[in-house]
């Protein structure tokens, strides 16, 4: 008996020791030889084909776009950031054979890969005469006499123009298809207007909108209306989220301040795009200027913006991130036709309701279930509030002043723009195309977004429905269990 117990104890200890020893061996082998499989997510870099119609006319006319990399092909293939750009370029060249030609050159030796001379000095200035920088990560797009140079002169990675970076300079998305489409469109077009962002009112730098405008074919610059007049090449004035009011000269004064400059610009057929922060203080002078176009921000008696809220059709639980739908009206309907097949919702967060009068037209509306929230309370639940509007005002000289107002800073936020799920970017493109008449846009181009775990387009109503269905399953099972158990007991 005692010998059996002793033997059993020894056996248990031996088994435990063997298990521990086995784990140590496997752990050591794992550390040395990496005995694991790591499944990585495949990056889908294939172009979507959204640019087929964009280049159809140019292809039919026999035009040709040359894309020159300032790095030889073998080096480009293995470059950490350039390899993705190379792959996109190859796909464009294969898809549009004969229309897109790729060339590889060395900017230092000034030789193409085939030995021809590469004249770097021809690109030392851009089309407006400003100095450019050419290095080994430059990409030059050319069609005839038109050319555009993209150079990463800021980061050490190269090819930064093809990527979206966060504040800490980490890559969050790859936008190769869109950038190729935009730059190719750029060099196929002879004239390019300039979009000027106003400064001097604590406007928040709006890099996503800047990039969208660049891809839409604008040069982008800034202007301080307190100090300078609006130049003749201004195709678009962008007022992005001003926090302080604009200046207006006293009545009867001959001074030209900001509002006077904007008024003159509008009277000669200028175009403006305004985004407002509804949580900022009231900009009395500037909003008066907007109301001359028939667009006003709805406010309560205390001057607070009326914020639109939609808990059921919003995509956040608080109901302040809404899905906007195109309104009825010529402009909105035309914009809708351009974008309806591209998929995705237009989303805005913390958006005020607009009031329209005169010739102003709605562009985007909230859902019929939306309500108005002001001063911490729900004040109205009429639904279908205007959350973006446009106004086209005929001038005496026959020109037309155009204004678009979006009372939210979120329409052009990075996570609303750099995504394939929402169509905020295509909404902006259709605005430039349809309302501002700026020409064909790179609609529908895909970005590859990294580390994106946001559930896009899921509304809170849908979330509640799914939750109810999932909870119903165990309830049904409980009912079945009770039925089976009671029935068995009663037999």
């Amino acid at each position: 008996m005692h010998s059996r117990n002793f033997f059993s104890a020894v056996l248990v200890v031996a088994i435990v020791a063997a298990v521990v020893f086995l784990n140590i061996i496997v752990y050591t082998l794992d550390e040395h030889f990496g005995l694991y499989i790591h499944s990585e997510q495949r990056d889908d870099l294939s172009i979507s084909g959204a640019t087929d119609t964009l280049f159809a006319d140019a292809i039919a006319e026999g035009k040709k776009v040359t894309v020159t990399f300032c790095m030889y092909e073998d080096a480009l293939k293995v470059h950490p950031t350039g390899s993705y750009v190379y792959r996109t370029a190859r796909e464009f060249a294969e898809r549009y054979e004969g229309f897109v030609e790729l060339r590889y050159a060395n900017a230092l030796t000034q030789l193409y890969e085939n030995g021809d001379f590469f004249d770097v000095s021809a690109y030392s200035k851009d089309m407006r005469g400003n100095d450019t920088v050419i290095n080994d990560t430059s990409v030059i797009f050319r069609c005839g006499d038109e050319y555009r140079v993209l150079t990463d002169a800021y980061t050490g990675s190269g090819f930064v123009d093809f990527y979206t970076l966060d504040e800490e300079m980490y890559i969050t998305a790859y936008n190769g298809e869109e950038i190729f489409a935009a730059m190719m469109s750029w060099v196929l077009t002879e004239e390019h207007g300039t979009a000027y962002f106003t400064t001097g009112h604590s406007e928040t730098p709006n890099l996503p909108l800047y990039n969208v405008l660049a891809c839409a074919g604008y040069y982008v610059d800034t202007i301080n209306l307190r100090r300078e007049d609006i130049p003749d090449d201004a195709d678009l004035i962008v007022v992005a989220n001003p926090l302080s009011d604009f200046e207006r000269a006293a009545e009867g004064s001959s001074l030209r301040t900001e509002i006077e400059r904007l008024t003159s610009y509008a009277e000669r057929g200028g175009a403006m795009l305004v985004t407002l922060d509804p949580m900022a203080k009231r900009l009395t002078v500037f909003e008066q200027f907007l109301s001359d176009f028939g667009i006003s921000v709805r406010r309560d008696a205390n001057g607070e913006s009326a914020i639109v809220k939609d808990p059921n059709n919003g995509i956040t639980a608080d109901g302040f991130t809404l899905v906007g739908s195109y309104a009825e009206g010529d402009v909105a309907e035309t914009m809708y036709e351009k974008t309806k097949d591209l998929g995705g919702n237009i989303i805005v967060r913390t958006v005020a309701a607009l009031e329209l009068s005169g010739g102003a037209s709605p562009l985007l509306l909230s859902s019929p279930a939306a309500s108005i929230h002001a001063g911490g309370e729900t004040v109205e639940s009429a639904g279908r509030y205007v959350i973006a509007a446009c106004s086209a005002r005929a001038n005496e000289d026959g020109s037309t002043a155009r204004l678009v107002v979006v009372p939210s800073i979120y329409l052009t936020a990075t996570d609303a723009i750099v995504t394939n799920a929402y169509s905020n970017k295509d909404f902006l493109y259709s605005l430039f195309d349809v309302f501002y008449g700026h020409g064909e846009m790179p609609y529908g181009c895909h970005s590859v977004v990294y580390d994106n775990d946001i559930l896009e387009n899921l509304t809170m109503g849908e979330a509640r429905l799914y939750t109810a269905l999932l909870i119903a399953l165990p309830v049904i099972l409980a009912g079945v269990g009770v039925f089976v158990t009671v029935r068995r007991k009663n037999r």
């Binding site: 059993s8 794992d30 999932l470």
Partner: protein, 235 residues
């Protein structure tokens, strides 16, 4: 073993415990899924499975507490010990039955992630890694549960003992996190930690060492249970 397995599976559904386990498991899984994904607007699966790991540490002891202690309390243990079935077959039959209940519930509730497909790109490797990791952890918890159940005739004591042992294993991971990584003892704690090894799977790494760890710990506790009953038979 198959007969024992079938008998155990039948007993889960002739009584209340099988239905109760599945109902509670599915309800909590649905609540956690909604909380960590739908209402959080996130397709990140890791937080859901981390919560499910902690929930499993509580619910599996309740599932396994009756495995052996009920037989002892009802004095039907002698019938089992004298039955023409080997002790290992009996223990494995009960172990596999309890594990089947857990694995079936887990795999069914993992189908909830299909809801997210229209709204986000699910990372299949991460999801699969989490499911496999939780299946392995569940195997360990079930083996601990049947071991604790074999030690006592009081089901509540069996459940509490199981939870205590599981928490001790999980506490190893907490202690490991407090030790600076340049100390050699940290690697020992990491090697013993259920949670640290769980995390390697959840990051998409299918790690052989962690697989061997989970299987060997489960096998060890099943072996201890066999030894206890083997000793009881001959005593």
């Amino acid at each position: 073993m198959l007969a024992i397995y079938k008998r155990e599976m039948r007993s889960y559904f002739t009584g209340v415990i099988g239905y109760a386990f599945l109902v509670v498991f599915m309800a909590v899984a649905a609540a956690l899924f909604s909380y960590t994904t739908l209402f959080a607007m996130s397709s990140d699966v890791t937080s859901y499975f981390t919560f499910m790991l902690l929930f499993s540490a509580v619910i599996l002891p309740i599932l396994t507490m009756k495995s052996f202690s009920e037989e002892r309390k009802a004095r039907t243990e002698q019938l089992v010990l004298t039955a023409p079935v080997s002790i290992p077959a009996m223990v494995l039959g009960k172990f596999l039955a309890a594990y089947t209940m857990f694995a079936g519930a887990l795999l069914f509730t993992s189908l909830y992630f299909l809801i997210l497909i229209p709204y986000a790109e699910l990372q299949g490797a991460i999801l699969l890694g989490n499911i496999i990791a939780l299946l392995l952890v569940g195997m360990v918890f079930v083996s601990i549960g049947i071991f604790a159940s074999s030690l006592t005739e009081n089901q509540l004591s069996a459940a509490v003992s199981t939870i205590a042992i599981i928490m001790a294993f999980l506490a190893v991971g907490i202690v490991a996190a407090l030790i600076p990584s340049n100390y050699w003892i940290r690697s020992i704690f990491d090697a013993l930690s259920i949670y640290t090894r769980f995390q390697t799977f959840t990051n998409g790494y299918f790690d052989l060492a962690s697989l061997v760890y989970y299987l060997s710990v489960s096998a060890l506790f099943v072996y201890f249970t066999i030894r206890i009953y083997d000793r009881r038979r001959y005593n």
